[in-house]
């Protein structure tokens, strides 16, 4: 049996029946990493010694207890913008190349409590800013379905690691689509939870009113298992909340009403992507789900709104990298404080991060604040209201995750605006704080592409704190197409 092909549930059952040990699972995945990651580059760092010792600990617990948590002995990967005590945490940036995490992120604490086995840290666009993982200071990650193409971003390393079976699940973070886009491009399931459902303590901040941590895994059920393990209120993150229990979440297919916004199927979408999405929606209809067209009239303003708000928050959050407290520093080479700042930041940050800091600083600067930042915050209100209105009559919303298929490495990197446009279907969900699932629903085989085709993801958007419902909707599809 190839242990890397298991789902979390199957691994758990097998461990329970003593069919294999956590150490054996861990070794299989470490072998896979050795075999595949030279080409994929999903991981920035692995720590074999640490992983094997965590697996031994898990086996110890398994041998002593009849019941143990679902993630006990399950190998996972953590996006390199979340702190794992004692391991390097770079956020994909030169400026943190020497940074060793002094404590654990709350999500990491929670995984450790379940005795999960951390294999290593995954690649990302620098500070999670990007849609292709090409903005990493340590080189791009490649899409396991076609290594000439990007895995999506910014959690590209996490998605590629799951797709290449280099880990059983991974954590990612999502500020404007950074879990959902790579999940879609790599053909895995990815959940962006409601804002506040998962603690952000120990996540390196990008845009604090948009950032959320969530799982990427082979199946929707696995995403649910990980989400249940990491969610909850945390005294160390005052924006975190307890997910309220949904009453009557016994979903009856025939009672399910799902909206499809007409604004998401306009000029700019690849017709092949549209076809796969429409077919998936039809399959739901055949199951008995009621599908209706809805309207989110401010959709076209969500992307420009996001590209003011996210860089503005980023420019404030990234002010902390000053060469004084931690990380790369030019202090030794400069005698003047201002020069320490200017040169540390000028050298430490890559092109996209500097671009966004500049854009954010401009939007927040005196004379432009009202025209840009404040106006964008008002438009954010309108985007949010659109969803509130539609959710009065539907349970969930279906849209594509991305208007395009995974693109070639290098194709968009020279034109920042063309890269931003890839996020057109995902950013509004962060602006509104909603949960959304990226569900693999099919593949497209472009003419020039041999092999097995390129994955396409359906985005299932839910009401605030109704993760359970959208996960159930996602499971319906996977049960039928298993």
């Amino acid at each position: 049996m190839d242990l890397t092909e298991l789902t979390i549930r199957q691994a758990h059952e097998g461990l329970k029946k003593k069919e294999f040990s956590a150490l054996e699972i861990c070794r299989s995945f470490l072998d896979n990493v050795k075999k595949k990651d030279k080409e994929i580059s999903a991981f920035l760092n692995t720590n074999e010694e640490l992983s094997l010792s965590l697996a031994k600990d898990a086996d110890e617990i398994i041998s002593k207890n009849k019941d143990f948590p679902l993630l006990t002995g399950v190998p996972c990967a953590i996006k390199d913008n979340m702190l794992v005590e004692g391991l390097k945490c770079t956020a994909g940036s030169r400026i943190l190349d020497n940074y060793i995490a002094p404590y654990n992120a709350t999500v990491v604490e929670k995984l450790k409590k379940e005795n999960a086995v951390i294999l290593g840290k995954t690649n990302l666009d620098e500070f999670a800013m990007g849609s292709s993982t090409e903005n990493s200071a340590f080189g791009p990650t490649r899409n396991p379905h076609d290594t000439s193409r990007v895995p999506g971003g910014s959690s590209g390393g996490s998605a590629a690691a799951v797709a290449a079976e280099e880990c059983l699940f991974a954590l990612g973070s999502d500020t404007g689509g950074s879990i959902r886009l790579p999940a879609s491009f790599c053909g895995v399931a990815g959940l962006k939870p409601t804002y506040g459902a998962v603690s952000r303590y120990g996540l390196i901040a990008f845009a604090s009113s948009l950032d959320q941590i969530g799982p990427l895994a082979k199946t929707v059920e696995d995403c649910q298992i990980v989400f249940d393990a990491i969610k909850g209120k945390d005294p160390l993150d005052s924006t975190s909340v307890e997910t309220p229990k949904i009453e009557n979440c016994k979903l009856k297919i025939e009672n399910l009403r799902i909206g499809v916004p007409k604004e998401y199927f306009v000029k700019g979408i690849d017709p092949e992507v549209e076809k796969v999405i429409k077919e998936a929606i039809k399959k739901y209809e055949e199951m008995g789900v009621k599908i209706e067209e809805v309207s989110l009239p401010n959709t076209k303003y969500a992307l420009p709104c996001y590209y003011i708000i996210a860089p503005s928050e980023a420019s404030a959050n990234l002010a902390r990298y000053d060469g004084i407290k931690y990380g790369m520093s030019e202090a030794e080479k400069n005698s003047n404080l201002l020069d320490v700042y200017l040169n540390t930041r000028g050298k430490g940050f890559g092109a996209e991060v500097r671009r966004r800091i500049m854009l954010g600083t401009y939007s927040l600067s005196s004379g432009y604040y009202e025209a840009y930042y404040l106006r964008a915050q008002k438009v954010r209100t309108l985007v949010k209201r659109d969803f509130e209105k539609v959710f009065q009559k539907v349970d969930a919303i279906f849209t594509p995750v991305s208007p395009v298929l995974p693109f070639k490495i290098g194709e968009k990197i020279e034109d920042p605006l063309s890269m931003y446009l890839v996020d057109v279907y995902t950013v509004s969900i962060n602006l509104a704080g909603l949960p959304a699932l990226s569900l693999p629903v099919g593949k497209v085989t472009p003419h020039q592409n041999g092999g097995g085709g390129l994955p396409v993801g359906l985005q299932i958007i839910g009401k605030p704190f109704e993760e359970e419902k959208i996960l159930k909707v996602g499971k319906l599809f996977q049960e039928i197409h298993a």
Binding site: P102, Y195, I308, K325, Y326, G346, I357, M358, Y362, G433
Partner: protein, 96 residues
């Protein structure tokens, strides 16, 4: 199009050293992005309140008590600093 001087001014506010070539590059790129976000000016926002947080945020307070765990962490945090003296971060002098 924003001017080179504006780019230099913003870079200084953001504490980023830029080369002359980078100033030129940023001038083009920022202008094209700002041009794109101009679309927002079409929206009538006259009676609309601003959203800074997805949901209603409540202020959270705690007792002002000594945190033992934090004290043990302090050393670890200080060890990350490029320049320090005793238990202090070292910063270049600004008063002359």
């Amino acid at each position: 199009m924003i001017s080179k001087d504006e780019v230099k001014h913003i870079a200084k506010l953001a504490r980023l050293a830029l080369t002359e070539k980078e100033v030129e590059k940023f001038q083009k790129e920022l202008s094209s992005i700002l041009n794109y976000v101009e679309e927002l000016k079409e929206v009538n926002v006259s009676d609309i309140a601003a959203t800074s947080h997805p949901f209603e945020a409540k202020n959270v307070v705690r007792r002002d008590e000594e945190n033992k765990k934090q004290i043990t962490n302090n050393k670890k945090l200080l060890d990350l600093a490029p320049e320090k003296e005793k238990d202090y971060l070292k910063v270049k002098s600004i008063l002359r």
